[in-house]
C-alpha cells in the first residue's frame, strides 16, 4: 500500500481518486478483518445447520424442540405485552403528565435495569418459595399446613414472564420516553387546536410518532428474553438457551447444540426483521424544529394517586424489593461469604470486564473512524456485521466460539506434537481468550453505537481544518477526535463493562476451568439452593449495574433539543 505522496508524480498511471482510495485502503482491510472475526461465531452456528447429527437431532425434534419453541413463544408474548404496557404507560405518565414524585420516577423507573434477570429470579424464589418468609408468615398467621392452601408457583412459565418483564420494561420505557421528549410540542398543540383532548392527542399524534421507538424497545426486550439463561434454567422452563447448554454438556453433542443455536437465531432474525419493518415504513422526520417545555397535563386527586401507584409498582417490584432482600441477606451472610474467595471472584469479573471493554472501545473507534475517513459500501457492511452481535444470544455466541477455538487448539497441538514433541494445551479455548472474544463479539455494538454517535457530533470540517494545517489521518484521530470524545469513550467502555459483569451463559460455557466470576458464583450458589449465600455476589453485580442507569438518566435529561435554553430562560429575571 502506498502511503507516501511527498513527491509529485510518484503515483503514476491512475486517477487521483483511485490513488487515494488505494492509499487509505488499510482501513477497509482492517474493518473487514474485524467484521469477519466477529462474524465467525454466527457463521459457525449457521454452518452447522448442514452438519448431519442423525439420531440426536431426531430425538430432540421429537421430544424437546416443540417445548422449546412453545416456551420461547409464550415468553415472548408475555414479556412483549408486559414490557409494552408498563414501558409506554409509565413513559407517558412521566413525560406528559404532572403528579407528585414525577421527577423522581423519571430516573427511578430505570433502576430495574441494574438487576440481571437471574438475580431477580433467585431473589423472588427465596421470598416466595414454600420455606420462604412470605409463605411461612402466611402459615403462622393462619395455622395452615402444607397442602391446605393454594399459592402461586414462582418457578413456572408465568413466573419467568413476570421476572423478565420486571427487569426488561426499562428498555421500552427509555426509548418511548426519549421519543415523547423529542416530539415538538408544536405538533401536539396543533392537534389540540384542531379539537383533540390531551388524551386523544396522545393517541392520535404522540403515540404514532413514537411507534418506531416503542417497537425498537420491545424488540430489544425480546432479544434479552431470548438471551436469558439464568432465569429459565432456574425455573425449569425449557427454552433454546437451556437446551443448548444441556445438549452441549449433558449429551456432549456440540453439533446438535449448534443446530439448536441456529434455530434460536431464526427467532432473532424474525425479531430484527420485524423491528426494521416497523421502522422502515415510518421513518419519521420531525417537521417542526421548535421546542418548548412540554405542557404537562395535571393529574390531581384520585388520578394522581393512581399515577403514583402505576409508576411506583414497577420500581418497587423490579428494584427496591429485590434489592432490599438482597441487602438483608448479604448483611446476614457477609461474615461467611465475603472472604478472600469473594475478592478473587470480584477481581476475575473486574479483569474480564476491563479487558473486554477496552478492546470493544478500541475496535469500535477503529471501525467508526474508518467509516468516517471514507464511507464505502464495504466498510459500511463491515460495520453492520461487526455490530450485529448484540442481537445474538450469549449461548449461541459461546457455542460458535468454542467449536472453532477447540478445533484450532487441536490443530496447534497436533502440529507441535509432531514437530517439537510438546503440547501447549488449550491456548485459546482453555484461557480467558475465548470468553473475552465472546464478550467483544456480543457487546461490540454497545461501544460502536456510542462511539459512532460521538463521532457524528464532530463536524467533518474539523478533520478538514486539521488536514489543511498539516495533520495526517492518524494524527487527527489522536489530536482532535479522541480528546474531544474522551467522556463518550469512557461511557462506551462503562456500558460494556457492566454488560460483561452481568453476562451469564457465555461466561458459564467459555470460562477457563476454576475461573469463577461474581455472576458464576451467584449462579452456582443459587443452583445449590443457597439463595441467601448468593446475595453478596448478586448485590455487587446490581451495584455496578446502577452505573449505566445513572449515566443514562443524565444523558436523557439533557437529550431534549432546546431543553437547556428553556431552563436558562426561565431562570432569568
Amino acid at each position: 500500500m502506498t502511503t507516501d505522496a511527498s513527491h509529485p508524480g510518484d503515483l503514476r498511471g491512475a486517477s487521483a481518486r483511485a490513488n487515494r482510495a488505494r492509499r487509505i485502503d488499510g482501513w477497509s482491510f482492517l474493518t473487514v478483518a474485524i467484521a469477519s472475526l466477529v462474524a465467525v461465531p454466527v457463521v459457525v452456528v449457521a454452518a452447522h445447520v448442514l452438519v448431519p447429527t442423525g439420531e440426536i437431532w431426531a430425538h430432540l425434534a421429537e421430544t424437546l424442540l416443540l417445548t422449546y419453541i412453545a416456551n420461547s413463544l409464550w415468553l415472548m408474548v408475555g414479556v412483549g405485552s408486559g414490557t409494552l404496557v408498563i414501558g409506554v404507560g409509565t413513559a407517558w405518565l412521566v413525560t406528559m403528565c404532572r403528579f407528585p414524585g414525577r421527577r423522581i420516577f423519571e430516573w427511578a423507573l430505570l433502576l430495574p435495569m441494574a438487576v440481571p434477570a437471574y438475580v431477580i429470579a433467585y431473589t423472588y424464589t427465596g421470598l416466595l418459595e414454600f420455606a420462604g418468609p412470605v409463605q411461612e408468615t402466611l402459615r403462622s398467621v393462619t395455622g395452615w399446613g402444607r397442602g391446605d392452601y393454594w399459592f402461586p408457583e414462582i418457578r413456572s412459565l408465568p413466573g419467568a414472564i413476570a421476572m423478565l418483564t420486571l427487569v426488561l420494561y426499562p428498555y421500552v420505557y427509555l426509548l418511548s420516553r426519549a421519543a415523547f421528549l423529542e416530539q415538538s410540542v408544536c405538533v401536539l398543540e396543533v392537534s389540540r387546536t384542531l379539537g383533540r383532548t390531551p388524551f386523544q392527542a396522545f393517541r392520535s399524534v404522540a403515540l404514532p410518532l413514537a411507534r418506531p421507538a416503542v417497537a425498537t424497545g420491545v424488540a430489544l426486550a425480546l432479544m434479552e428474553t431470548l438471551n436469558d439463561f439464568g432465569t429459565v434454567e432456574y425455573f425449569a422452563v425449557d427454552t433454546f438457551t437451556t437446551g443448548i447448554f444441556r445438549t452441549w454438556y449433558g449429551l456432549g453433542e456440540p453439533a446438535a447444540a449448534a443446530q439448536l443455536a441456529a434455530a434460536l437465531m431464526v427467532f432473532i432474525l424474525v425479531l430484527v426483521a420485524m423491528e426494521r419493518l416497523s421502522r422502515g415504513g415510518g421513518r419519521i422526520h420531525h417537521t417542526s424544529q421548535r421546542y418548548r417545555s412540554l405542557p404537562r397535563y395535571p393529574l390531581a386527586g384520585m388520578r394522581g394517586v393512581i399515577a403514583v401507584a402505576a409508576c411506583a409498582a414497577p420500581v418497587l417490584l423490579g428494584f427496591a424489593l429485590p434489592g432490599g432482600v438482597l441487602l438483608a441477606w448479604a448483611i446476614e451472610t457477609a461474615n461467611e461469604m465475603v472472604d478472600a474467595q469473594f475478592v478473587s471472584y470480584a477481581f476475575n469479573s473486574f479483569v474480564l470486564a476491563t479487558i473486554a471493554s477496552l478492546l470493544a472501545v478500541a475496535i469500535a473507534v477503529l471501525i467508526a473512524y474508518g467509516l468516517r475517513l471514507r464511507p464505502s459500501p464495504v466498510r459500511t457492511a463491515a460495520a453492520r456485521v461487526a455490530s450485529m452481535g448484540y442481537a445474538v444470544p450469549g449461548a449461541v455466541i459461546a457455542v460458535g466460539v468454542l467449536i472453532p477455538f477447540a478445533w484450532l487448539d487441536g490443530v496447534v497441538n497436533d502440529w507441535t506434537r509432531a514437530t517439537i514433541g510438546m503440547e501447549p494445551g488449550l491456548i485459546l479455548s482453555g484461557t480467558i481468550c475465548a470468553v473475552t472474544f465472546a464478550y467483544v463479539v456480543r457487546f461490540l455494538a454497545v461501544s460502536f453505537n456510542a462511539v459512532e454517535a460521538s463521532f457524528a457530533k464532530i463536524t467533518p470540517h474539523l478533520d478538514d481544518a486539521a488536514r489543511c494545517l498539516g495533520k495526517r489521518p492518524m494524527g487527527i484521530l489522536t489530536r482532535v477526535h479522541l480528546p474531544i470524545m474522551g467522556g463518550s469513550l469512557l461511557t462506551a467502555g462503562l456500558l460494556v463493562f457492566v454488560d460483561v459483569m452481568k453476562e451469564l451463559p457465555a461466561t458459564l460455557i467459555l470460562r477457563p476451568f476454576n475461573f469463577d466470576t461474581l455472576a458464576i458464583r451467584t449462579y452456582q450458589l443459587a443452583s445449590d439452593e443457597r439463595l441467601a449465600d448468593a446475595s453478596s455476589a448478586a448485590l455487587a453485580i446490581v451495584a455496578v449495574g446502577i452505573i449505566p442507569v445513572v449515566l443514562l438518566s443524565i444523558a436523557i435529561a439533557r437529550s431534549r433539543p432546546g431543553s437547556r435554553t428553556v431552563s436558562r430562560g426561565s431562570k432569568g429575571p
Partner: protein
C-alpha cells in the same frame, strides 16, 4: 499588484463518487496578493472548487498548480496536509478542546517553541485577540471565532488562503464589520486569497476579481465593475440585481421595447433577443413632462405601488400592453422623490444599464 500566478486551475472537471457532475472544464488563475472571488448560487460547484484546491477532495480531471508546483493532475495527488494552503470554513471549525492559543498554534507545531510562541502572539495581535489567548472557543462570540479561524489559517503563512463563505454564519449586523476587518488584514499582509460566496454584494465588496459560476462552469471572469457594467449573459446580469425583461426580434440592428427601439449591435436581422433593464435604468421624471431631447426613448407609465427602501425608492409601474403582453416594470431611483400612486409619469430608459442578449435554449 503584479501578475505572478499563485494558484492556477486548468481544465478542471469533477464528478462526485455518486456520479453527480459538479465541475466541467473550469480554469482560472489567482495572482499574488489578489483577492479572487467565486460567486454563484448554491450547488454551482464553488465550494467543490475550493476543496479541490485544498486537496480535501481528490481531483477528477485537469491540473491544479500552487506556486509553480503541480499539486494535482492525472498522475499527482498531494495530500491536503502537504499542500499547506490555509482554509477558513463557514462554521469556523475551531477545535473545541483547545484554547485559542493552541488553535492558532495547531498548524505550526514544527517550529521551535520560541518561534512558535512569537508567531502565535503576532497572529493574535493582527486579529486583535491577544487577551483571549487562554479562552476556549465556546466562550467567544461569532465574530471573535471568525478572527481566530483566520489567525489559525494564516499562522503557517500559507501561499494561498481559501475562504468558504466565511461570513455567512454571522448575523447581519456583525457581518459587515467582520468582513471589513478581515479584508484589511488580508490586504495588509498581501495574502493571496480565493473566497467563495453566494452574496453578490459581498463579492463586489471583497473581490479584486470575480468569477461568476453557474452549473459547474464559469460564466464570466473580471473586475467587479466589468461584470456589473458589461455582463455577457443574462445569468451574470441577474446575479447582481433583478431586471425588467422583454423579448423581441432584431430588425435592422434595433429591437423594439416599450421605450421605443434600442440598439442591438452585432445581431443578425430576425434574431430573437431578450432585453434586460435594471430597475435603476428606469428614470421617472418628477414633473411627468416631456422627455429630455436626445434621450434614447421614453414611455408613459402609471404608478401601481411605491415603497421607500432606505436609500432609494422602489416603484411598480404599469406600461400598458406591449407585443400582446401586459408590461409591469420596476423602477429603483436614488433620492427621496416618491411618485404618487395612480398617477401617470413619463419614464426614460438609461442605455448604460440596459442589456441585449440572444435567446438560446437556456435563457
Amino acid at each position: 499588484m503584479n501578475r505572478d500566478p499563485v494558484l492556477t486551475l486548468e481544465h478542471v472537471s469533477h464528478t462526485f463518487e455518486d456520479g453527480t457532475k459538479v465541475l466541467s472544464d473550469i480554469g482560472f488563475t489567482v495572482s499574488r496578493g489578489e483577492i479572487f472571488c467565486l460567486l454563484g448560487p448554491s450547488g454551482c460547484g464553488k465550494t467543490t472548487t475550493l476543496r479541490l484546491a485544498a486537496g480535501l477532495e481528490p481531483l477528477g480531471q485537469g491540473r491544479i498548480t500552487i506556486d509553480g508546483v503541480v499539486v494535482a493532475d492525472e498522475t499527482t495527488d498531494i495530500a491536503p496536509e502537504r499542500r499547506g494552503v490555509g482554509f477558513v470554513f463557514q462554521d469556523q471549525a475551531l477545535f473545541p478542546h483547545l484554547t485559542v492559543r493552541d488553535n492558532v498554534g495547531f498548524g505550526i507545531e514544527h517550529l521551535a517553541q520560541g518561534e512558535k510562541e512569537a508567531r502565535i502572539k503576532d497572529m493574535l495581535a493582527q486579529v486583535s485577540m491577544v487577551e483571549f489567548a487562554d479562552a476556549f472557543p465556546h466562550r467567544l462570540s461569532g465574530g471573535q471565532q471568525q478572527r481566530i479561524a483566520l489567525a489559525r489559517a494564516l499562522a503557517p503563512d500559507p501561499p494561498v488562503l481559501l475562504l468558504d463563505e466565511p461570513f455567512s454564519g454571522l448575523d447581519a449586523r456583525l457581518r459587515n464589520t467582520v468582513r471589513e476587518d478581515t479584508m484589511t488584514i488580508l490586504k495588509q499582509r498581501g495574502t493571496t486569497t480565493l473566497i467563495v460566496t453566494h452574496d453578490p454584494e459581498e463579492a463586489m465588496y471583497v473581490g479584486d476579481t470575480i468569477a461568476v459560476m453557474r452549473d459547474g462552469g464559469i460564466a464570466q471572469v473580471g473586475a467587479p465593475g466589468d461584470l456589473y457594467c458589461r455582463p455577457v449573459t443574462p445569468f451574470v446580469t441577474l446575479i447582481f440585481s433583478s431586471a425588467n425583461q422583454v423579448r423581441g426580434i432584431v430588425e435592422n440592428g434595433h429591437v423594439a421595447t416599450p421605450f421605443g427601439p434600442i440598439a442591438a449591435e452585432g445581431f443578425a436581422h430576425g434574431a430573437p433577443v431578450i432585453v434586460l433593464m435594471r430597475p435603476e435604468a428606469l428614470l421617472i421624471d418628477p414633473q411627468g413632462g416631456p422627455p429630455p431631447g436626445d434621450s434614447l426613448g421614453t414611455a408613459e407609465g402609471t404608478v401601481v405601488n411605491v415603497r421607500m427602501l432606505r436609500r432609494s425608492v422602489f416603484t411598480h409601474m404599469d406600461f400598458g400592453e406591449f407585443n400582446g403582453e401586459r408590461i409591469h416594470f420596476h423602477a429603483r431611483n436614488a433620492g427621496h422623490f416618491m411618485p404618487e400612486e395612480g398617477r401617470t409619469y413619463r419614464v426614460s430608459l438609461d442605455p448604460e444599464q440596459t442589456f441585449v442578449f440572444p435567446i438560446r435554449d437556456k435563457g
